[in-house]
Amino acid sequence: MSEQTPVLECNNLSVSYFTRAGEIPAVVDFNLRVMSGEAVGIVGESGCGKSTVALAIMQYMGNNGDIVGGEIKFNGQDMAAMSEEELRQLRGSKISMVYQEPMASLNPSMLIGEQLAEVFICHEGTSMDEGKARAVEMLAAVRLPEPARIMASYPHQISGGQQQRVVIAMALLSKPELLLLDEPTTALDVTVQSGIIDLIKDIAKEFGTSMIYISHNLGLILETCDRMTVMYSGEAVEEGTVDEVFDHMRHPYTHGLFASIPLPGADKNERPLVPIRGQLPLPHQRPVGCSFGPRCDFFKEGQCDQGPISMRGIDGEELHHARCERLNEIDWSTHKSEGVSSEDIEAGEVVLEVDHMKKYYEIRDNSLAALLSGDRIKWVKANEDISFNAREAETVAIVGESGCGKSTFAKVLMGLEQATGGEIRLHGQDLGKVPVQQRQPQTVSLLQMIFQNPFDTLNPSHTVGSQISRVIKRFGVESDPVKIQNRVFELLDLVKLPRDFAYRRPRQLSGGQKQRIGIARAFAGNPSVVIADEPVSALDVSVQAAVAALLMEIQREFRTTLIFISHDLSVVRYLSDRVVVMYLGHLVEQGTTDQVFAPPYHPYTEALLSAVPIADTSVEKREIVLSGEMPSATNPLSGCPFQTRCHRKIGSVCEDEMPPERMLADGHRMRCHLDQSELDAMEPVFVMGNDKTAA
């Protein structure tokens, strides 16, 4: 292997951006070797420089970025010495890149076939017809159904998963030697993601392409890569084969990262997550010495803060390196960084009852055909017959992919939309058809919401303090200015932020801090039910754990009912007491977390569980990759909503009859036609390697 020339080699690469604040070093002293046919993962949180590495490899850093040190060699050739024309020839033919947003990578005004054929026309000078013929083959190779139809479609006519397959096909058309994938599945749903990951795994085998896979998700790296590099604050902190890094990680940051992600067997009370304390330093405020120093439990003054630290080899593992001054002093076998476990909470009385709630949206069809047939009004059935209860101090998770109707449900509950049928009772009072404007302030204050996007949740024009105090004033918790001020300070204490944050504006806060303010704002009116819509999914892994833990702690203290909306089953498993699974507006399964996460499963739940990437080499997972995409809610199917994608479909009964809701155990209900014997025979989706307990 050492005889071979690497496809790509980065030697001591440093990249900086030049901005108002001066030079911002984005990547410092970065080394990477990618051999032919190898997949290398780069993992790290936002701002760690992983995308900058990819852009540097493409030699495409915008007008304010520059390589300030080191070199990048492609097939042994120094890329800095290449002319702009040579680089242009290289990009898209020898090196291809797949970006995060498939819609943004495709030209919306061109047919997909033409866009794909352009690659051949541009790099090989072929004709449009020949280009299209070869493009069809490639679409089939990325397992797109009906390639001919896709060729004749515009990007908006196909789904997000299909778009990303087209982008991958486009990247592979010219048989590149190196494929860069920058978070290729982050914008996709989990069940769609698992299909794409499957495809990516086969690319190296089928085409012999080397890959650099950039992701923040450790589980995906484990599934797709041979070797990996962990980055923190612009530096590689640990590198090695995937097995070496996952099984014998040596850098404290890597340890912290793994301790802060929920694993499938984890439970909030038994194995609480351990967040990494503090936050990522800004690039121009990095400490001297180890960048991770201020957040590290093993930081030693006088040793870790004495200047640049180099990558060190690890005995016995040729490829494994870590950037830690105390690498050989830390004994990880004796170190236990277990979080504080806590008692189960006793759930109280039923607070929220959802009773056969329906929400249909009306759309008017103004086409001539519709006018003639008199069938002008169509219904989008966003929520169909939703029933469940939530008790005091309980966390109920609503799980489902985008388009399943979970956000519609939240809107109806909050009073932004009105239910079409059924009831939603809060403390016995029906709210389903009462818009928020007509609810009593008292009632409004009982229901509050935490939002997903930290960059959107706070108004950028007002100080943090004024946004929290508005809630306090609005709900009449306090009226005296001094008391309101004190209450704001107390809430900041509650979410563990310094009191002077009250005077700051949102743009001065990090994502995690904003999300904490969002939590403080939600709890400012003493609510009895809080709806959290994906509260941590937009945050970095190490911050996610801290915010999730905080939310749990506050909920525990106030005995608030938490409705937790999420697509991330690891987080759901970790946080919630009961789970409600939704698909296409229907509630397909509900039960306690243990019931839902253990067999018998609803086939959809089973597929969802299997789609979750797991960052643990010891877990064995049963693979279920769903075919197709979620059907549209405009033309509801008769029978089971999941029939088009179900891997356990029985036959015509699934197409004709809506499965009845059946009670499997106390509180465990699902809608499925499967025989009891078949349900009983289901195997668990994960098997933990070490103790073989079912998850």
């Binding site: 409004v444 105090s469 309101i484």
Partner: protein, 294 residues
């Protein structure tokens, strides 16, 4: 945060922020040049009464060339016009008038345009249809005809200039604001306010409007320039401020026929108009450039 606290801590922060934003201007030479032109006229207009100037409306010696000596030993720096009035004094006092009326007219146009835009964008539905329809009708009028109708009906006073500018500009402002609001209203903080049961008025004024200010400041600079031209144009057509006030447009109109014989009388006010409009436009360009940079 309570209101007392606001008044205690905000001004200092507000002022510090203002200084910071001014400091950002130095990134764009264009913005600085534009600001310098605008400030030149603003300062001249402000200190006009303190300057050793002739009265702008008193006839002295007609048709004097620039830099010629006056009777009492003073100098007509920019000459005099056909009625013997000092051009420098007329241009500077004219700046006073044009700046006051342009600012006031633009502010009034903004007041109506912003209200219409926020309501149309946020309330949507019937409100949007009605407001957009009214704007489209107004926009479909030839602006010149609109001005002439308004002013010939109501006579030429400053108030009518404001009215004319408002009719012509408010629909355009409404469209910009509506577009901004349509984008802003999908943000989570708007949902947060809605789920608190806040009134639409509160959401529009407190939650939405402050976040639309960036693009509006740039637009306001541009629009001040347009309004300056409009006022000059109305003056030129004899529809501007009533005589004998020194209106730049009217100064050109009155002296233009005598251009071959004493060209400075029309060129001086024309240069005044161009420089002020150029200042506003360059400032707007520079501000946009700065706001796009990171």
């Amino acid at each position: 945060m309570n209101t007392n606290d606001h008044s205690m801590s905000q001004p200092a922060r507000g002022f510090a922020r203002f200084v910071q934003s001014i400091a950002l201007l130095k990134e764009s030479p264009i913005a600085i040049f534009g600001l310098a032109l605008v400030m030149l006229w603003v300062i001249l207009a402000l200190i006009a009464p303190l300057l050793p100037l002739f009265d702008p409306n008193t006839p002295l010696e007609p048709f004097k060339k620039p830099f010629s000596d006056a009777k009492d030993g003073a100098t007509y720096w920019l000459g005099t016009d056909h009625k013997g009035r000092d051009m420098l004094s007329r241009v500077i006092f004219g700046a006073q008038l044009v700046l006051i009326w342009a600012t006031f007219a633009t502010a009034v146009a903004y007041f109506f345009g912003v209200i219409m835009g926020v309501v149309a964008g946020y309330m949507g539905g019937w409100w949007d249809d009605a407001i957009s329809f009214v704007s489209n009708v107004l926009l479909s009028f030839p602006v010149m005809v609109l001005y002439i109708i308004i002013i010939t009906y109501l006579g030429s006073t400053g108030f009518n200039i404001v009215l004319a500018v408002t009719f012509a500009s408010a629909p355009g402002i409404m469209r910009i604001v509506r577009g901004l609001v349509l984008d802003l209203k999908t943000r989570d903080y708007i949902f947060a306010a809605q789920t608190r049961g806040e009134s639409p008025l509160y959401i529009m004024l407190v939650e939405l409007l402050p976040n639309a200010r960036g693009p509006l400041i740039v637009d306001a600079c541009l629009r001040l320039g347009y309004t300056t031209i409009t006022i000059a144009m109305l003056g030129y057509l004899g529809l501007g401020l009533p005589p004998p006030d020194p209106d730049w447009g009217k100064m050109i109109a009155e002296t233009q026929p005598l251009g071959s014989f004493a060209g400075h009388m029309a060129v001086v006010p024309a240069l005044a108009i161009s420089s002020l409009v150029l200042g506003f436009n360059l400032l707007a360009d520079g501000l946009r450039e700065i706001s796009l940079r990171d």
